[in-house]
């Protein structure tokens, strides 16, 4: 019996239902692969996943914590989405987040006599600028010297984290506890809590506003058009008069600033001081979010919430099942890979050859 031959051919356009289905399918596939790994650890995957979702959504406390975790993810997710749209491969969201956290702490521990709203605005502004500056360095290197942005943004992460660690172990070391963490920021610098008896803070508002702004930027503005055109085909964009150098630099600036806001929120809204572990890799998760969301700002909210569930739920689940919460990291990695595979289906279709 002759097997039917399959033909792989390029798609002419992507139907909307497929665009939504592919990430879902990627997630399901990743759950299957992760379950296999859990089985190898002689544990029950169904119980694992059930507890992840229950832990994140089933209780009020869990839901609130999920929102707390989602907050920085939305910001890194949209930062990376914007960057990728302009084909600026910003793998440095983690370092930019640290830059924002660093700047916000610096402002916060100055204990300035400002009314709270103004202080908060100052933290956000300074944090954004810090991240923008940190992100624009690789941007300039790419735009002007054609240096690979993936590697440079990656290296900048390590540099910033070492910088922060050095300061925390040095001049900012808490004199009372002697631990490598900063003193608390001024109370008037703290983000207000939004929901009583929870840790949900103003940062989620900042995140959602950022989403709206990026959406409008990309869809309706001149700069947004230039970013999309440069990202799509920079050679043609350059030929057709778009200043691609300027566009790449602006993309890097804005992306870096957005990622930094995630760090601002973690310091000013959640921990109130800076520690070495202010981010367990939110910058990298942002990359996965961006891919899952297809670089669409609205979808970023959904994807971020999904990962918020996984991260929060994994903590709960690990207490119940004895499976280490590091399974969340495994899930993240697998989703990235399965989504990558799904992207192929986005470009090509497989059908039977006649």
């Amino acid at each position: 019996m002759k097997l039917p031959k399959f033909v792989v051919e390029k798609r002419s356009h992507l139907p909307v239902w497929l665009r939504v289905l592919l990430p879902v399918f990627a997630i399901l596939l990743s759950f299957i692969f992760t379950s296999i790994i859990i089985l190898f650890a002689k544990k029950n995957p169904i119980s694992a996943f059930y507890n992840i979702f229950y832990g994140a959504l089933g209780t009020r406390l869990g839901l609130m914590e999920t929102i707390v975790k989602t907050t920085p993810l939305i910001l890194t997710g949209v930062a990376v989405s914007l960057a990728f749209t302009g084909k600026f491969w910003n793998i440095g969201a983690e370092g930019q987040l640290y830059a924002g956290a660093f700047a916000a702490t610096w402002v916060g521990i100055m204990k300035l006599p400002l009314p709270s709203p103004l202080y908060i605005l100052l933290e956000i502004a300074v944090g954004f600028i810090a991240g923008a500056l940190w992100g624009v360095i690789p941007g300039i290197l790419k735009a002007k010297y054609k240096v690979d942005d993936v590697v440079t943004t990656l290296l900048m992460n390590s540099i910033m984290i070492y910088l922060v660690t050095a300061v925390l172990e040095g001049t900012w070391r808490d004199p009372v506890t002697s631990w490598p963490q900063s003193i608390m920021i001024a109370t008037n610098a703290e983000f207000p809590k939004l929901i009583a008896r929870s840790r949900v803070h103003f940062g989620i508002v900042v995140a959602l506003v950022a989403i709206a702004l990026v959406y409008i930027l990309l869809k309706y503005t001149k700069l947004g058009f230039e970013i999309r055109a440069t990202g799509s085909k920079s050679e043609a964009a350059h030929f057709l008069g778009i200043n691609t150098t300027k566009t790449i630099i602006l993309t890097a600036l804005i992306s870096g600033g957005l990622a930094a806001l995630a760090g601002v929120g973690e310091v000013a809204g959640l921990h109130y001081h800076l520690t070495e572990n202010i981010s367990p890799g939110y910058g990298y998760t942002g990359i996965i979010i961006a891919m899952l969301a297809g670089l669409n700002p609205i979808a970023v909210v959904l994807a971020s919430f999904f990962f918020g569930i996984i991260i929060t739920g994994a903590q709960y689940m690990s207490r119940i099942t004895g499976i280490t919460s590091f399974i969340a990291d495994v899930v993240q990695g697998v989703i990235l890979l399965t989504m990558l595979g799904m992207l192929l289906l986005q470009e090509y279709r497989i059908r039977r050859a006649k």
């Binding site: 900048m156 070492y162 495994v330 990695g333």
Partner: protein, 311 residues
């Protein structure tokens, strides 16, 4: 200041330089194969970490260090097959595939370690490799302790340099591999199997990267820690470019970066005023500077980053 100028300090420093360069040499040689065939493998950091974990667990369970080393190499091959599946068979973005492999392998390493070992108050250790002094040669003043009293893996790393150079430039396989990395269409038109060649080069790369990882837990250190690879995988990515994809230059670059690493440790021990993190930063800053200088004249394998599909 005087501490620096003693012979003891310098010999110790140079000896440590060679030591710390070992994983860099091995992993970078692996990445060189990968990139010469046209695939940028950002999975190197994760592969090294998983390699270090596998080496540790196998050595811990079996008390056989060399088995640990080879298991690490084998884990590297498995990861590289995954990488090859995505970048060669599916032809998707090499950047993202590599990152995905690193994120996945890193997560898997942590997961396996915690799941298998748990969180004991005293983390388990292994008895590491001992350095092997070459008879006679290691007695030569100054040079002896630096070059001839090192771990076996270090000697292997140094030997790998000319071996890899020979394979790349003097064998038929190397010629085909380089052709695939420069112009896969031409290679294909001559009957060279581009896919198979890339799979093989990635497997070689994965094997070497895994072995490099084993160095961390079986020689340099005696246990597994989350940050044990500490970003050196990314340094290797830059090292390949720094070395212009030539094995002999990989050795030079690795010694330079290894030297900075070794220096930083010693300065910490002395109680130098500048925070040690600034020295840890140095390889990364140096790398970025190198990338800028080299970007102008880099002779990239022309097909790097482009997936190959035949109609």
């Amino acid at each position: 200041m005087k501490e620096f100028l003693t012979a003891g300090f310098l010999i110790g420093l140079l000896s440590a330089t060679l030591r710390m360069a070992t994983p860099l040499i091995i992993a970078t040689l692996g990445e060189t194969f990968s990139e010469r065939s046209g695939v940028l493998n950002l999975g190197i950091e994760g592969t090294m970490l998983l390699g270090s974990l596998v080496a540790f667990l196998v050595a811990y369970r079996t008390n056989n260090l060399w088995l640990g080393v080879f298991s690490a190499g084998f884990s590297g091959i498995l990861l590289s097959l995954l990488m090859a599946f995505f970048t060669v068979t599916l032809g998707v973005s090499q950047h993202v595939s590599g990152l995905g492999i690193t994120i996945f392998a890193s997560g898997l390493s942590l997961f396996i370690y915690r799941q298998v070992i748990g969180s004991p108050s005293i983390p388990p250790t292994v008895t590491t490799f001992k350095t092997v002094a070459v008879p006679l040669l290691s007695k030569i003043p100054i040079i002896g302790p630096i070059l001839f009293d090192q771990y076996a893996l270090t000697y292997i790393a140094i030997l790998l340099v000319p071996i890899c150079g020979y394979i790349l430039f003097k064998t038929n396989f190397g010629l085909s591999l380089r052709a695939v990395g420069e112009n896969p269409e031409s290679a294909d038109a001559l009957g060279i199997n581009v896919y198979k060649t890339r799979y093989v080069s990635l497997m070689i790369a994965g094997f070497l990267m895994g072995i490099a990882g084993s160095f961390f837990t079986l020689a340099y250190f005696n246990m597994f820690l989350y940050g044990i690879v500490g970003g050196r995988g990314w340094v290797c990515i830059a090292l390949v470019i720094f070395a212009n994809w030539i094995p002999s230059k990989v050795l030079l670059g690795a010694l330079l970066f290894g030297g900075v690493d070794a220096l930083q440790l010693r300065l910490q021990a002395i109680g130098f005023n500048i925070p040690y993190q600034f020295f840890l930063m140095m390889p990364y800053v140096l790398t970025i500077i190198v990338l800028v200088i080299v970007a102008r004249r880099a002779s990239y394998p022309s097909a790097l980053l482009k997936p190959y599909r035949r109609e």
